[in-house]
């Protein structure tokens, strides 16, 4: 048989697609299985039992909620109000004003009657200098502490809070997030119910709050977002939080805790040096660090994950903001993965090294690149006239229908567990989203990832760039 380069290429591409597709399918099927098991277990376990009785106990562990704020003048007062009304006794709300250029600090001082606390003059070892610590003169706001510091970015602000706190646990949240009143009770329960392992961190679901009716810091009515981009993200979040993280939680290999709602054991978080200030993926990085820290000491530990809808946030509604956000995620991902590359297939890190890390590397980092290259190849083959159109069609249809199936499964699961969107119209819209997502929203996400990769590559070539201190905003 004569060697035919055209056929060889076609075969090679076919084989590559085949292998990749099977991996994807098997991976997701496993994910579906694990998440289902875990969710069922969780639901049964928590179908009853009164959380509230613990809230008043003076023995309950203490928590600091750290909410970094940068130019949030417009919303800060309301956001703090909602944070102050959580159902828990032993907690404080620490708002870190990260050198805002607007009137964030003034607004808070005025609304909560804050005065400079001359007794607490904290060090500035771990963050940019701190200008002052404010507390309220009114007893009803005694849980509020406001730190005013120079701008250093979100991680820097969180670090300042983390080192200033003297509580058992610290919660890092976005200040524009809306927490449900029971949030802290769930968190404390997750932290303290284990006996064999130490819980080093607790993460939770992020729900999409766009178009929801929020009044006086309370979620009054859950509504489906009106913006299509937000709807796609809602679907994406449902998939990733309800299925993805639940599955990782089942095999105790959760590697990421969302920066918008993450709680840490303060002792361990500070022992690893807090958040990394020179990556944009600090929320992922800290979990890596803490896990490695525990692994290196062979201490039994775990990371808990709460699937209850406790944290609601607004997601970007314009392509521009979305692309920026995804670009940042992708870069953070890359930086974290490369920083901890020692873990890859390192049996010393158990499942983390053998399953989680490779997943993040291949699925979260490599997959958009492969996909992008795939598109390129197909176009190339099409023009060269070597495309095996029937095979191409078949594999596209398979992958497409699989994706749709997975999304609809996530929806089904959402209806079964928390049943947030009850109107038939909403469910139909979400199904429609699942159907058109692969052509519309997904390419956007891939594009953002490619852009981030490209930028990263470019930066590396240009040598050590000065680290840019960035502020952070909603997106």
């Amino acid at each position: 048989m004569a060697f035919n380069p055209e056929h060889f290429v076609v075969h090679f591409i076919n084989a590559l697609f085949m292998v990749f597709t099977s991996f994807l399918v098997i991976g997701f099927l496993l994910m579906g299985y694990f998440s289902t098991r875990n969710s069922l277990h969780y639901i049964h376990k928590n179908s009853f039992g009164n959380l509230e009785s613990i809230m008043a106990s003076p023995l309950a562990p203490s928590i600091t909620i750290i909410a970094p704020a940068y130019n949030e003048g417009a919303t800060i007062v309301e956001n703090i109000r909602s944070l102050l009304s959580l159902h828990y006794v032993n907690y404080e709300v620490m708002v870190v004003n990260d050198g805002s250029k607007d009137n964030t600090l003034e607004k808070v001082i005025e609304a909560y009657d804050l005065v400079l606390d001359p007794n607490t003059k904290p060090l500035m070892e771990r963050s940019k200098p701190i200008r002052g610590v404010y507390r309220s003169t009114r007893a009803s706001f005694s849980k509020l502490v406001v730190i005013d510091k120079e701008n250093g970015g979100k991680s820097d602000a969180l670090n300042a809070g983390m080192y200033l706190s003297d509580k058992d646990y610290v919660g890092c949240i976005d200040v524009d997030c809306l927490l449900l009143p029971d949030a802290l009770l769930h968190v404390v329960k997750a932290f303290s119910q284990r006996t064999q392992k130490e819980v080093i961190a607790v993460g939770g679901v992020i729900r999409v709050a766009n178009s929801c009716k929020i009044d006086g810091g309370k979620l009054e009515e859950i509504r489906l977002p009106e913006n299509w981009l937000a709807r796609f993200q809602l679907l994406e979040y449902t998939r990733s939080f309800l299925l993805g993280r639940m599955a990782w939680g089942r095999i105790d290999s959760l590697l990421i805790i969302s920066g918008a709602f993450g709680f840490f054991n303060r002792k361990i978080a500070t022992a690893v040096g807090g958040y990394d200030t020179d990556t944009v993926g600090e929320d992922m990085e800290i979990v890596f660090k803490m896990r490695r820290y525990m692994h290196d000491r062979s201490a039994p530990y775990t990371v808990e994950y709460i699937p209850d809808p406790l944290c609601w946030t607004e997601v970007p509604e314009t392509t521009e903001v979305l692309l920026k956000q995804r670009d940042r995620w992708a870069r953070g991902n890359m930086e974290t993965l490369s920083k901890h590359r020692k873990m890859l297939f390192n049996p010393a890190y158990g499942r983390l090294g053998m399953i989680s890390y490779p997943y993040w590397l291949f699925y979260e980092w490599l997959s958009p690149i492969l996909e992008f290259l795939g598109y390129g190849l197909i176009i190339l083959c099409f023009f060269l006239g070597v495309i095996n159109s029937s095979f191409f069609l078949a594999i596209t249809a398979t992958v497409y229908l699989f994706t749709v199936m997975f999304s609809i499964y996530a929806l089904l699961w959402d209806v079964y567990t928390y049943n947030q969107y009850t109107r038939p119209k909403d469910l139909l819209i979400l199904t429609l989203c699942a159907l058109i997502e692969p052509f519309s929203f997904h390419p956007l996400v891939v594009w953002a990832a490619i852009k981030a990769n490209y930028k990263k590559l470019f930066k590396i070539q240009s040598g050590w760039g000065a680290m840019t201190r960035r502020g952070f905003s909603k997106a």
Partner: protein, 631 residues
């Protein structure tokens, strides 16, 4: 060759079809599920609406009701009993009663519970206990507990050591809740680990019991099950049973360090000084956390006899945390003991390395912290003779103090801070300091060096740069070297900005001196005088200081405050910016001189602060500007 992809293609189409069908199935189930949910909710709501009044009637029934009502009540009961044959009715009714019970308290809650049992609904719960599935069993236990079916206690006890953790936990709570002696039985019987959450829950349950007489928990300190001992210690602490002294002290020898920690906590809380000799012996064999705990205990309970041990600890320990804790403990026993010059170095040394955990040990280092900060941020205040630091000469305040600070003074201060932070060396030998940094650095092991770099903070001293350069050049550990390099780079870039910032902060530290004064003011009269005084001499930041008083409950105070604010505002209109600044400096100079004159150097912080108050008060009394004198 073409045949291979052909097979693939067929297979793929089959798969695609499969996925499509499954998607469709899921899609249908979404709506089926939704329908089921809705129907359930609708049925329940209907049921509740239908029965709500009947239940209310029964709950508030009393024998004094008129005959008509009594009859209606009987009819209702008969009707309910007839319906009870239907399992679905029973299910809805018991759910309804459980829900209602949650919102009720007092007599009506009792009636609801009574009704639940009268209707034999608790037998359904018993049936649940026989189930094979854990969610059903634990639900049964939960419902029985909620409705306080006391007879359920014995059937539930057999689940106490169930291997399914959720059933186990539920039954633990049930046992503690249902019988007063439940906790005793639990502590006697349990062989499983008790999570912190469970402990909290159980203590909470005990707390909620009325007229509860806790047993002597010390009997369980003898248990062979470590978790029981641990929980018993917590209970002892919670219920303040301090009669188990000997057992508790013995437990500080326990092989499980968690028990030791808890025992130490009891020892500290109950003040068992007898434990100290034993702790002294145990000290060596403990891990770091426990050592710190022991030192804490010494700090709280120790006497001057223990100082020798602590000093040995501080001297011999290679660990900075331990050394610093030991010194802190000594200070706690005998304040000021570690301040003399010989030990000055080690205080600072330990303080520096306390950084990673400083928040935990904040109290022990209060003194050091206060001085540290005030010198950085409030140069004006450093002139008050409140410092215990003899190394710093008191200088009279000059109007151009900020320049002074930036030149020689800043240098001094920065050195001092560097000493504080990096433990490098005593202040006296300021020559060859840099060499010493290097020597010090060389002595550290890898872990310590990494820590050092991580904790390194730049305070504006060129020597720090030199040290960093040295590290970049000679450090063998890549990571550390790189971090040093990065630090160096960022510092070099920031130096100019940092210098500017110091100047700025000096200006910004304009924050009212009265905050400090009012803090030590014990009574209202002095406060009033201070407020008037603020009005007489204050400016913008005094307005901020006065604001909270505007809403003070004491009418007089709020009135005085508002008058003071008015005065300041009026004056602010007249005084231009520069004038104001110079004038302020004069005032401050005057105050600090006065303060210096009043308090003797040996006097400690609070006393001198108080004297200062007093004098101010006199000052205010004599000041003709104060409108409401001698109140």
């Amino acid at each position: 060759m073409d045949s291979i992809p052909q097979i693939h293609t067929n297979l793929l189409w089959d798969l695609a079809l499969l996925f499509g069908v499954i998607s469709l199935a899921y899609f249908t189930s979404i709506f089926v599920l939704r329908m089921i949910n809705r129907r359930k909710v609708a049925e329940m709501t209907y049921f509740r609406k239908e029965w709500a009044e009947a239940i209310s009637h029964i709950v508030f029934h009393s024998n004094e009701d008129p005959v008509e009502e009594q009859k209606a009540y009987l009819r209702l009961k008969v009707k309910i009993r007839a319906d009870l044959a239907r399992p679905y009715f029973r299910k809805l009714l018991s759910e309804m009663l459980l829900d209602l019970h949650k919102d009720l308290e007092g007599h009506s809650a009792d009636t609801v519970r009574q009704l639940f049992r009268d209707l034999q609904l608790h037998h359904d719960c018993y049936d649940k206990l026989k189930s094979m599935r854990w969610p059903r069993i634990s639900q049964g236990i939960h419902e029985l507990t909620q409705m306080q079916v006391l007879e359920a206690y014995f059937p539930i006890t057999r689940f106490l050591n169930d291997r399914r953790s959720i059933i186990r936990k539920q039954s633990e709570l049930a046992i503690v809740e249902l019988q007063t002696e439940g906790i005793n039985y639990f502590l006697n019987t349990t062989r499983s680990a008790i999570s912190q959450w469970q402990q909290l829950k159980m203590i909470e349950l005990l707390e909620q019991k009325t007229d509860y007489q806790p047993p002597a928990f010390k009997q369980w300190l003898l248990s062979s099950h470590t978790d029981t001992v641990l929980f018993a210690l917590r209970l002892i602490l919670h219920f303040q049973q301090n009669d188990g002294k000997k057992s508790i002290i013995e437990l500080s020898k326990h092989i499980d360090f968690r028990v030791r920690h808890e025992a130490l906590r009891c020892i500290r809380d109950f003040g068992f000084e007898d434990a100290l000799p034993l702790l002294e012996k145990l000290f060596k064999g403990c891990d770091l956390d426990l050592k710190l705990d022991i030192l804490d205990t010494f700090g709280q309970l120790g006497s001057t006899e223990d100082i020798e041990f602590l000093e040995n600890c501080a001297a011999q320990s290679k660990d900075f945390l331990i050394a610093s804790k030991a010194l802190a403990a000594i200070n706690q026993i005998e304040p000021d003991r570690v301040l003399p010059s010989v030990n000055l170095e080690s205080v600072k040394l330990s303080y520096a390395n306390e950084m990673p955990q400083w928040a935990d040990d904040r109290q022990s280092f209060e003194v050091a912290e206060v001085s540290f900060y005030e010198e950085v941020e409030f140069p004006v205040k450093t002139r008050k003779p409140l410092k215990s630091k003899e190394a710093k000469p008191e200088e009279p305040l000059e109007p151009n103090f900020e320049l002074n600070l930036l030149d020689g003074d800043l240098e001094d201060q920065v050195e001092e801070q560097l000493g504080v932070v990096h433990t490098v060396k005593p202040l006296e030998e300021s020559s060859a300091q840099e060499e010493d940094y290097k020597l010090f650095y060389q002595r550290l092991d890898l872990e310590e060096r990494r820590n050092f770099i991580r904790n390194f903070s730049y305070l504006g001293n060129p020597r720090e740069l030199e040290l960093l350069e040295y590290i970049v050049e000679f450090e063998t550990d890549d990571e550390t070297q790189f971090q040093a390099f990065q630090l160096l780079k960022s510092i070099q870039a920031d130096t100019r900005a940092a210098t500017a910032r110091v100047v700025e902060e000096v200006h910004e530290s304009e924050h009212s001196i009265f905050y400090q004064l009012i803090e030590f003011t014990p009574d209202n009269d002095l406060k009033k005088n201070l407020i008037q005084e603020a009005g007489a001499i204050g400016d913008r930041k005094e307005i901020a200081f006065l604001k909270p008083f505007l809403t003070n409950e004491d009418k007089l105070i709020s009135k005085l405050a508002s008058r003071a604010v008015e005065r300041i505002e009026a004056r602010l209109l007249e005084v231009s910016e520069e004038d104001e600044y110079a004038w302020r400096l004069q005032i401050l100079a005057k105050y600090s001189q006065e303060a210096q004159a009043i308090s003797a150097p040996e006097e400690d912080f609070e006393v001198s602060g108080f004297d200062f108050q007093f004098d101010l008060n006199d000052f205010a009394l004599n000041n003709e500007a104060s409108p409401k004198n001698g109140v």
